[in-house]
């Protein structure tokens, strides 16, 4: 009887203790990525990698001793809903930081919310720049970390004619506007730069490919593509059928990473180029570990240290890519800043974030005063396996959101 009473008490004490520790030692972190709708294909991977990173951090003792407790909301690829969900995260769930957004329009939609409520957002996907909010940290590639290095590479390869092809929305239009100025400053005349846009879901690339073929007939031409998502399939099919190859007219794509190849036929893209601040094929101990751990994690996804069930992780055919790596970098930089500031308060963390360094899979990154990273940029050639072979590395490229600064005007 006594032993029963004792064990009962012990059990009760245990329950109370776990409850209290649970309540006291977690920190809420928001994930704001579309898990349904058109953007779900891309954004779900970022939710997965964030949970994986939380698991990594919790296993090694958490952030300033507190376990990360994820709060996931689904803005469903609906831009106004992004703002509502952001408000919910900040006002109702009172999260310390939010990781999220993919498209620029979603970021523009949440920006006023974060500024009004003094929240903290980490944004991980290459974008067009020309924006700087004190409440947003952009781990993403700025134009001078992706588009400019690619164009430089093409110029170095002796290319003299540039065909700028993009989907019709803000990122391609802004990027191409900047590239045009940049190319002109490098002495490429107007008539050798063509700028063309196609609607989302465009399937008929005959006219455009015929125009490219003519454009490339005198040699030394290349295509800079900001085509989005699955419009790349009909484009590259038509491109290959017209007898154009990476030898006579290479295409550099800014929107195709390893993750996109899960739904694209890589064989039509072999030899064409990509430029990112991370490739899955990077050889470094940090990356080998990241890839191995992540691929293991998706098979049995969990977040250690707290009572939390992870659902909706697809274990098949997973890869890592630049937006995923940059999401993860954001979490680690935030953790270090919190520990340096000794507080979760947004204002203190913001100050502490500047100058934070972290050695990640693609080398060391540093958060600058302009809320962008100093990061290594890589140019890679597409292989039939959907991976990239790195052909050029640029070390320590400092992200700069405002084009007039790097264009020197």
């Amino acid at each position: 009887m006594k032993s029963f009473k004792q064990s009962f008490l012990a059990l009760a004490a245990g329950v109370v203790m776990t409850l209290t520790t649970h309540a006291a030692e977690t920190v809420k972190v928001g994930i704001l990525h579309s898990l349904s709708g058109t953007m779900a294909i891309s954004e779900t991977s970022l939710k997965d990698v964030l949970l994986f990173t939380f698991d990594e951090i919790n296993k090694s003792g958490g952030v300033a001793g507190k376990m990360i407790e994820p709060v996931i909301v689904d803005p469903a690829s609906n831009w106004p809903l992004f703002a509502e969900k952001a408000e919910q995260l900040l006002a109702k769930d009172k999260v310390s930081v939010v990781f999220g957004c993919w498209t620029s329009v979603s970021r523009k939609s949440v920006l006023p919310v974060f500024e009004r409520m003094n929240g903290l957002l980490f944004y991980p996907v290459q974008y067009e720049g020309e924006e700087l909010s004190k409440n947003i940290f952009y781990t993403a590639e700025a134009v001078n970390q992706q588009a400019i290095p690619s164009v430089d590479y093409m110029l170095a390869e002796g290319k003299k004619k540039f065909y700028l092809l993009g989907s019709d929305y803000v990122y391609p239009r802004t990027t191409n506007k900047i590239l045009k100025q940049y190319l002109k400053s490098k002495g490429i005349p107007d008539e050798d730069i063509v700028e063309i846009y196609t609607p989302f879901g465009h399937t008929d690339y005959q006219t455009i490919v015929a125009a490219i073929k003519k454009f490339a007939s005198a040699g030394k031409a290349c295509v800079i593509s900001t085509l989005n998502g699955d419009t790349n399939v009909p484009f590259f099919k038509e491109f290959a059928n017209a007898g154009l190859t990476s030898e006579n007219c290479p295409v550099v794509s800014f929107s195709i990473s390893e993750d996109e190849f899960r739904g694209l036929p890589a064989k039509d893209l072999v030899g064409h180029l990509g430029c990112w601040t991370y490739f899955m094929s990077i050889k470094s101990p940090e990356n080998t570990k990241f890839v191995k751990d992540f691929l293991g994690w998706v098979k049995a996804p969990k977040v250690s240290g707290i009572d939390y069930t992870v659902s909706g992780v697809d274990p098949k055919g997973r890869v890592t890519c630049s937006p995923m790596n940059l999401s993860r970098m954001g979490v680690y930089l935030w953790k270090q800043a919190v520990e340096k500031a000794g507080s979760f308060e947004v204002d203190k963390v913001r100050t502490a974030l500047i100058g934070q360094k972290f050695k990640g899979p693609a080398g060391e990154v540093t958060m600058q005063e302009n809320h962008h990273l100093v990061n290594n940029a890589f140019i890679g050639e597409t292989l039939a396996s959907g991976q990239f072979k790195i052909i050029k590395t640029l070390n320590g490229v400092a992200g700069e959101p405002f084009s007039e600064k790097f264009l020197g005007k």
């Binding site: 846009y197 879901g201 008929d204 006219t207 015929a210 059928n241 899960r262």
Partner: protein, 555 residues
Amino acid sequence: MLLMLTAVAWVALARPVSAADFSPRTNLVQAILSEDLAEQTQLIQNLIGAEDPMVQQALTAWRGGSVYIFETNDTKVPFLLDGTIDANSNAKGIRIIDGEPLKDADGRPLLFVTTDLTPADASSKVRKLIKVALDLFALGNANPKMRRDAITKLGQEQNADYLPHFEARTKIETDKEVIQSLVEAVALTQVASEDAKVRVAAIQKLGEMRSINSVSFLKQIETDARKTPDKFGPETIQAAHAAVLAIDSYMAWGNLFGTAFRGLSLSAVLLVAALGLAITFGLMGVINMAHGEVMMVGAYTAYVTQNIFKGWFGASGGGFDSYFIAALVASFIVAGLVGLVLERGVIRFLYKRPLESLLATWGVSLLLQQLFRHIFGAANVQVSSPSWMSGSYVINDVLLAYNRVFVIGFAVFIVVGTYLLLTRTSLGLQIRAVMQNRAMASCVGVRTDRVNMMTFAYGSGLAGMAGACLSQIGNVGPGLGQNYIIDCFMVVVLGGVGNVFGTVSASLGVGMTDQILQPWLGAVMGKITVLGAIILFLQWRPAGLFVTRSRSLES
């Protein structure tokens, strides 16, 4: 230059290699190990024309970053990895100098893993040089197409050093098109010649050949010559001007023909997609919002058929290539069955209530999308093209892609088939009877219920085949139907509801207009303009191009 050559010779002499051994391979090995760009340049240029396959292989590998260097105390040996990889993903290292495997002290072959090795440096300058050397190798490539591409590209370099190589090749070349490109390349190179006679002759030659590839070079020389007439002389100006004019007018014809083909091909895509709808909506009057999803069923059927054939025959070869024919048949049957179930389960209750049929079929479309998303995943699936549908014919510099030609042929085939079905068979007679006057047809003994079912199934089957066909051109995913449904309704309404030939003319009209406008207005504005024009047209003729008078439609 002389100094450098001496340096090279000195290096060659300093090594314990006899003159007989100073082969392209030795040359290559030195180039790889050299750290001086000028020396590398010379060494790689020496390699041009070497007939050693090993040199070619190693150069390709060097450019692609798969030549490695084996370092011992004081020697460096460049090597390649053997193609065969053992269970531990190790491969043997092959010495470039003699093609023998690298061995350790005991004479066992050394094994390497690619991931542990660092490739030998190849700066972009060196890679470019290698490219030129390899292009010259490509003059001897077994594939005439590769040969032609390489020659065209070399011609555009306008490098007089290549001329002897071109001429040597012309003597032994047998393929007509390659000879053509050789003549073009020689002429283009001679355009840059200092000798006015050679230059003028070359320009005239290019003009006669209607060489599109050289038009920008000719324009350039014309501008240059006008700027400094003393240097070039009046003959050059005249010849270049005449040649540019001749090529431009030839290109204008080519553009016209190309636009016509592209318009025809887009029309065919629209027609193939809309013909099924012309039957179910046009003839039967069912507003079938699930038409696009029936197409999606067809496209996924093609995907499944492809996978089955892959299982039987492997991923290439004649057996696999024939999958597409089977896929067309299968998608007709599967989509037809889906249509049959749809008609029996939903639509037959709603023939007299078109608005409800709109809502019901829309619901069905959402259901089907979600079902396929569930079975095949949200991401697009990949349907590969059989080899006979990849690539293109080139006629007078206009590209006719095989898959586009196929779609045009297929559109003609199904239109003719549908026409024959409607006019030459008893089912067709019954269909027309029911569509014109259901009550009367029923009175004279036509089983209208059965005819409805068959017609709807046939229309759906056509949509399914359309889906299979479109898998060769665009993406296959759960959203495939949504991309085409608007265009389909547009074409059918524009053509005049109830008239199959109206649909044919409407798709031709829309496709042609779109392709004609696109080069001027761009893809986005082109599409908007076409839509605007259709709205205006329907204001003027609300019933579309061809008005069919029938009681069932008027009621």
